[in-house]
Symmetry: C2
Subunit: 231 residues, 2 copies
């Protein structure tokens, strides 16, 4: 229909840019997910207007969205910061992620294609490279990509949205885990998951994902315990 714009001779923008508040949101989201922000770190509007070169209205909107996502917390007075997880939070994250992500895996496994398996293999090998290189940010990003690429096949936008929300909550803490244990010692169940997908064993795939989730969250819990004792 009218998906193709007029695109007259004037146009220097063949691809209409997303609005600034969306760009700011995506940028902050990436920083939170991939470990560029530490738990407890304060977030100020003016700091972001400077570092991102945007006005304050778009920054305000992005921060509101992230607060609603649980990716940032509003601290009663007018301060905003990156959340520090409590033991109770982690316990709930384990329950929800296990229920949600094993079901997403189950649904994605029903629509599995050779293309998907190849895509996941590529991501997993990129992930291994990042581990070998000690690239924490790259590791976090590829790990997220692995899960996201799989879940995208589940045809379940509502559940996908909830899952993303959970990732935003523990993203910053995952960075701390890497800093503490190193990327070398972060086991996952991606290989088992891929094996299960290849032979079409849906329940095995869901089980592998559940184990992957629990394992990851237990690492977070361990670091958390260490911190709370230290403090």
């Amino acid at each position: 229909m009218n998906l193709i714009k007029k695109s007259a001779a004037k146009a220097p923008k063949p691809a209409a840019e997303p609005p600034v508040h969306e760009q700011v949101y995506q940028k902050l989201r990436g920083q939170i997910l991939f470990g560029e922000m530490a738990p407890g770190q304060a977030v100020t509007i003016q700091g972001l207007t400077d570092s991102l070169g945007a006005g304050m209205t778009p920054v305000r909107e992005a921060i509101r969205r992230l607060i609603s996502d649980g990716a940032l917390v509003f601290q009663g007075n007018r301060r905003v910061s990156v959340p520090v997880l409590s033991a109770a939070d982690v316990e709930q994250l384990i329950f929800v992620r296990q229920a949600l992500e094993s079901e997403l895996t189950r649904r994605a496994a029903r629509h599995v294609t050779p293309g998907l398996i190849a895509e996941l293999e590529a991501i997993d090998s990129a992930l291994d490279s990042a581990i070998a290189a000690g690239d924490v940010s790259g590791y976090l990003q590829q790990n997220y990509n692995f899960h996201t690429a799989l879940y995208a096949r589940a045809q379940a936008p509502v559940m996908l949205d909830l899952s993303d929300r959970m990732w935003l909550r523990f993203g910053p803490s995952l960075r701390v885990v890497c800093g503490r244990f190193g990327t070398q010692n972060l086991p996952d169940r991606h290989k088992e998951l891929l094996d299960a997908l290849r032979i079409g064993d849906i329940e095995a795939a869901a089980g592998a994902m559940a184990e992957d989730v629990v394992q990851g969250m237990q690492m977070v819990d361990a670091v958390l315990e260490e911190r709370s004792v230290q403090v």
Copy 2:
């Protein structure tokens, strides 16, 4: 500490008011949850600045939060509207709500007190009154209160947040259900739930809630089907 403000002779505000964007958010949230907005209805910023008497910045922030909540949808162009649920959405809502709310019930049931039971009984009787009076908005509100009062005892803020999010999604559609079937024909499992709580049968309580959830969502699905056939 300094909870008591100076409160000099001037002060007409003994209780510090919440910021405007918060007030706007709560107001819109109530309108969406309790059926004052129809699925598909368009939401404009300028319309809200007029009807709520607020500036556009607070309204914008409230809308962003609600979009992040899934209570409103951004329609690609710059339009925002109340979401219309698809059959796939309802199916996912059933799965998620069943898993989440039965677990919340389980956790709340472990900390059950006579005070909680009395509170729930009071809400349920107010709910019955609203049904008898044909007060749709009151019915929706009391129904929400019933679930919320119970879940508040679960000591699970993360899961509570997700649950609230789900309610925001189907709130407008629930209103349509009432309009179609009337409040008289909306069965719930509150009585069974209260019985289970009284005798301390945690699993029975969780089961009753799961049935309550499925029943409610099936009503939404039925109306949805009717609509899609009609169109």
